[in-house]
């Protein structure tokens, strides 16, 4: 039991990229294979969830959906092949190398899952910007008509100006971000991947704030027109 726990602990340390090399027990090969296989299965399950998410995502552009679908299919093929390879290994060192490949060559949790969610988020924001542009155009026309009819439109013009500013900021923040996101490759440097993801994640968050403000402006103008 103790030996088994040691093998699992050693694999866990090795998989998280710690410098210390785990010392597998000579008879721990079977256990090592079992642990790595389970970890591969976890990643395959995550990919299935991502695949289902892509199928249900109505706002993903066809191009982005296609790119992500291809990525997931490719990773599933690779991980299944790796699983077969693990099953055939004859040394713990080989299993350890497979475990490193499972992490570094795919980065399912660190990169693929965020790629799916952030791409979807960016496409949702893009759709929201398009819808708000339509709202903006309608409100501009409605405010002009109300003015022409002699109606008091209060600070509708200021709200409309802010709405336009928020939309411009939102658009600028997300332009090109999906392409940048989808171009990030897996690799052994987890910090580099995190660093590449951060500005995209930040842009999605800041754009959400812009869009919330834009919606508040639009609702304010609508309410003025309803008075």
């Amino acid at each position: 039991m103790m030996r088994r726990m040691l093998v699992i602990a050693a694999l866990a340390v090795g998989l998280t990229g710690a410098a210390a090399a785990p010392a597998y027990a000579a008879d721990g090969l079977t256990e090592a294979k079992r642990v790595v296989t389970a970890q591969i299965d976890g990643r395959l399950a995550a990919l299935r969830v991502m695949s289902a998410a892509l199928s249900e995502a109505q706002r993903l552009t066809p191009a982005h959906k296609s790119t992500l679908t291809d990525l997931i299919a490719s990773d599933r093929t690779g991980l299944n092949a790796l699983k077969t390879k693990v099953a055939g290994e004859t040394t713990v060192a080989a299993v350890r190398a497979d475990a490193a490949s499972m992490v570094n060559d795919y980065r399912i949790y660190l990169l693929v899952v965020p790629k799916v969610h952030l791409t979807h988020a960016l496409d949702l924001e893009s759709a929201a910007i398009g819808a708000l542009r339509k709202v903006y155009d309608r409100l501009v026309a409605a405010v002009a008509a109300a003015k022409q009819a002699g109606k008091d439109v209060g600070d509708a013009d200021a709200k409309l100006a802010d709405l336009g500013t928020q939309l411009a900021a939102a658009e600028a923040a997300i332009t090109g971000k999906v392409d940048t996101l989808l171009a990030i490759k897996p690799g052994p440097d987890a910090d580099a991947i995190r660093g590449a993801l951060k500005p995209i994640r930040d842009a999605v968050h800041s754009t959400r704030g812009d869009l919330r403000q834009a919606v508040a402006d639009a609702k304010a103008v609508r309410d003025i027109l309803k008075r």
């Binding site: 499972m102 992490v103 759709a127 929201a128 026309a141 639009a218």
Partner: protein, 118 residues
């Protein structure tokens, strides 16, 4: 028909002085024709405007200028339909829905990755 009566030969029983002067064109048919033409024009204009409104084209929207009176009227087909509060509400609801979905995606994207850095 009035025209038929006036184009008929003069009644021999009617004294010549009472007959209409052949050199003078008859006035009542002309007045009737003008009235009919005017009525037709009014009806046609009404039908055309009705059709344009059905197609979502308001000739007075935007500039307030009739398309029949000046070149400032927007071209039909490129003009936005008039905005109604219901349309704005519908569009804003669409955006609210998108932002709701966005929250869900961001919550998932912000979750710490499982299995360490894998």
């Amino acid at each position: 028909m009035q025209v038929t009566r006036y184009s008929a030969r003069p009644d021999p029983a009617t004294p010549p002085s009472a007959r209409p002067d052949p050199a003078t064109p008859p006035k009542r048919p002309a007045v009737t024709a003008i009235a009919v033409a005017a009525l037709a024009a009014v009806l046609l204009t009404g039908c055309r405007d009705g059709g344009r409104r059905t197609a979502g084209i308001d000739r007075d929207a935007g500039t307030g200028t009739s398309s029949t009176t000046g070149s400032t009227a927007p071209t039909a087909g490129t003009q936005n339909p008039p905005t109604t509060p219901a349309q704005v509400d519908s569009d804003i609801n669409t955006v609210d829905g998108l932002l709701g979905q966005l929250e869900g995606q961001l919550n998932k994207a912000d979750q710490a990755p499982a299995d360490g850095d894998g």
